[in-house]
């Protein structure tokens, strides 16, 4: 992978694509392990009648429902279970379940972020010391500048927001990225050279 980054020749790209394909194939096998773990975990909770066993029942029912509908339910065009099983694309029912169950659930969890941000901000933005006070003032400037009332309070507030986001914020972000990049190179070197082996179980 490292060599492929510097060698644009087709042979390098072909080798890279081959390795990616192997990774995807191994990943597909790993899903068998994952599903096995999923079943084991939830069936164990149901068997032991744990308090949260109800959630495990919902999980397993949803799992089988999606698998059954996705693989075995034929679309109007397929008209037979055999055609549905052999088809590459999933049917309209599977897509309906995804669009009307999975997507709204994801959106619901994502919507919680707004409330969590408010609660985190309420706890954090307190001027206990200089750094906390600076964070508080900056956060207030940013929040006000992002809404129309900010410009009504002071015409220069949006410009100040732009300056903060383009200069101090970017500088801090780049510093963190530099450090993380150096750390990742060093960690990769340790792993490639075998100095660090604990992730291999050694």
């Amino acid at each position: 992978m490292l060599v492929q980054f510097f060698v644009p020749h087709q042979s390098s790209q072909v080798a890279y694509e081959l390795l990616l394909d192997w990774t995807r194939i191994i990943g597909a096998f790993a899903f068998v392990l994952g599903i096995g773990s999923l079943f084991r975990t939830h069936l164990d909770k149901i068997r032991r009648r744990r308090p949260e066993a109800g959630y495990s029942v919902v999980t397993l029912v949803a799992f089988f429902a999606m698998v059954t509908i996705g693989i075995f339910l034929p679309t109007a065009e397929q008209q037979s279970v055999r055609a549905a099983v052999l088809a590459v694309d999933t049917g309209a029912s599977f897509q309906w379940l995804f669009d009307n169950v999975q997507v709204p659930l994801d959106a619901t969890m994502f919507g919680l972020l707004a409330f969590f941000i408010a609660s985190a901000a309420y706890r954090t933005f307190r001027a206990r010391n200089f750094e906390a006070g600076l964070l508080l003032v900056t956060a207030v400037i940013i929040m006000l500048a992002r809404v129309p009332i900010g410009e009504m309070i002071h015409a220069k507030l949006p410009s100040l927001y732009e300056w903060i986001m383009q200069y101090p914020a970017v500088a801090g972000k780049r510093g963190i990225i530099f450090g993380a990049a150096l750390g990742s190179i060093a960690t990769s070197l340790r792993i490639i050279l075998g100095i660090e082996r604990s992730h291999l179980g050694g």
């Binding site: 980054f5 510097f6 060698v7 644009p8 020749h9 087709q10 042979s11 790209q13 990774t23 191994i26 990943g27 790993a30 068998v32 392990l33 994952g34 599903i35 773990s37 999923l38 084991r40 975990t41 164990d44 308090p51 949260e52 959630y55 999975q102 659930l105 994801d106 969890m109 994502f110 972020l113 969590f116 941000i117 985190a120 901000a121 706890r123 954090t124 972000k173 963190i176 990225i177 530099f178 450090g179 993380a180 150096l182 750390g183 990742s184 190179i185 060093a186 960690t187 990769s188 070197l189 340790r190 792993i191 050279l193 100095i195 660090e196 604990s198 992730h199 291999l200 179980g201 050694g202």
Partner: protein, 422 residues
């Protein structure tokens, strides 16, 4: 220049007699495309026929075809056997002033002959061509006049991207620095500054042991291909070794099944190494789902039900980081987070008790293990940071001077050296 995708143009064949009277393109050549580095695109060049009209016909465009010759070749030498392919259409150019066309999906190991056919139409039909009524090469009125390349050609792939020389140079310099510091470390003790989040690991483990509650460890939402996940696993190994002695359960819900498999091995080996193999419970390390918010919902549920005394969030996270951290805070757990995701660091810093920022996550393995070789690598990282700071300073000065003194080419060269290509 207008291009048509490759299509079955087969009807332009009835023009044998007429083609002899129509001028063909000249000086047809097939060569490598210098802009393309992979070696899969060639460039066919030609000279347009003299004059655009002949015998009542008008030149309207060109068709380029390519024949793949038998065998595999490298630098003019045959290196293997491979079947030939007959002429196939590679491009149709509806611009009579065109003198070149790229040919894609080639191989640097094969050789090709190119044929360029000038397409002619009766002048009256050619005058009616427009955007709304483009040329149809299958039109029986179209006549062709072809010319072949005199010798075969092949695209040439680049074995090194010279635009990334500066990146390679830096990677090599930094790697040498790290390796040298690792070699020197065996002779000296190296001081590393205290990192509050890592010093609190023992406190977190002690808290969980005293309260009789488990520890929750989240390895992030990326797979084994992300170095942050591997760094997280290194920390998990050290944590498992320490918790094994106190028989504190550690729960590891996993986002990726491969990560789950590796985590199980790490925890099992850590407990064996700590002399407590009987404490290993593989059911504590389980796969949840690879859906982002489904995983978050599951982990939140674990936090609310199991009420772990300590939460560790180590790895790469996305938008779900604040949901995890806030839910954990609401249960009263001590929380230690570590990520190199610069967009999620602010959320962890506000909601967690301790946060490892960026490189501190990668230093955690060395810090916790106290292995001299790993600690020496931290010194190499610090030297690299100093060099980067000097380069930033030097580059800023050079860029500023390049604007003030534009005549000094050395300054511009220094600035260009730091530019990343590709």
């Amino acid at each position: 220049m207008r291009w048509l995708p490759l299509s079955a143009v087969v009807a332009i064949l009835v023009s044998g007699a007429q083609a002899a009277q129509l001028p063909a393109p000249t000086a047809v050549t097939f060569a490598d495309d210098p802009e393309e580095k992979e070696g899969t695109v060639g460039l066919v060049r030609w000279h347009a026929p003299v004059g655009y009209r002949a015998g009542g016909y008008e030149l309207v465009g060109y068709r380029v075809e390519v024949e793949q010759l038998e065998g595999k070749w490298a630098g003019g030498r045959r290196i293997g056997a491979a079947e030939a392919k007959p002429f196939e259409e590679a491009a149709v150019v509806l611009d009579r002033g065109a003198t070149s066309a790229p040919v894609e999906r080639l191989s640097p190991w094969r050789r090709y002959l190119a044929r360029v056919s000038a397409l002619y139409m009766p002048a009256a039909d050619a005058a009616r061509l427009s955007e709304a009524r483009p040329l149809d090469p299958a039109d029986p009125a179209v006549r062709i006049a072809s010319a072949l390349t005199p010798r075969p050609g092949a695209p040439a792939g680049a074995w090194f991207d010279v635009e990334k020389t500066n990146v390679l140079a830096w990677v090599l310099v930094y790697s040498v620095i790290v390796l040298v510091t690792i070699a020197i470390a065996q002779r000296h003790d190296i001081y590393i500054r205290p990192i509050a989040g890592l010093q609190a690991v023992n406190d977190a483990i002690g808290r969980a042991t005293e309260m009789g509650r488990p520890i929750l460890y989240v390895t992030g939402l990326t797979g084994l291909s992300d170095i942050a996940t591997i760094a997280s696993m290194l920390v998990l190994g050290h944590l498992a070794r320490r918790t094994a002695a106190y028989e504190t359960p550690i729960i590891v819900p996993c986002y990726d099944p491969l990560v789950m498999a590796v985590d199980r091995e790490i925890v099992r080996d850590a407990m064996v190494e700590a002399g407590k193999p009987q404490n290993y419970n593989p059911d504590n390390i389980f796969y949840v789902t690879d859906s982002q918010f489904g995983y978050v919902a599951a982990v939140d549920g674990i936090m609310v039900r199991e009420k772990p005394a300590a939460n560790f969030f180590m790895g790469y996270f996305y938008a779900e980081s604040l949901i995890l951290a806030e839910t954990g805070a609401s249960t009263g757990a001590i929380q230690i987070a570590g990520t190199d995701s610069d967009t999620q660091l602010p959320f962890f810093i506000t909601a967690c008790d301790y946060t490892l920022m960026g490189e501190e996550l990668y230093a955690a393995g060395a810090y916790l293990s106290r292995n001299p070789l790993l600690i020496a690598q931290l010194r190499g990282q610090d030297i690299g940071k100093v060099l980067i700071a000097l380069m930033l300073l030097g580059g800023a000065v050079a860029a500023t001077c390049a604007v003030i003194f534009p005549d000094i080419s050395l300054l511009s060269s220094i600035v260009e050296w730091f530019a990343t290509g590709g």
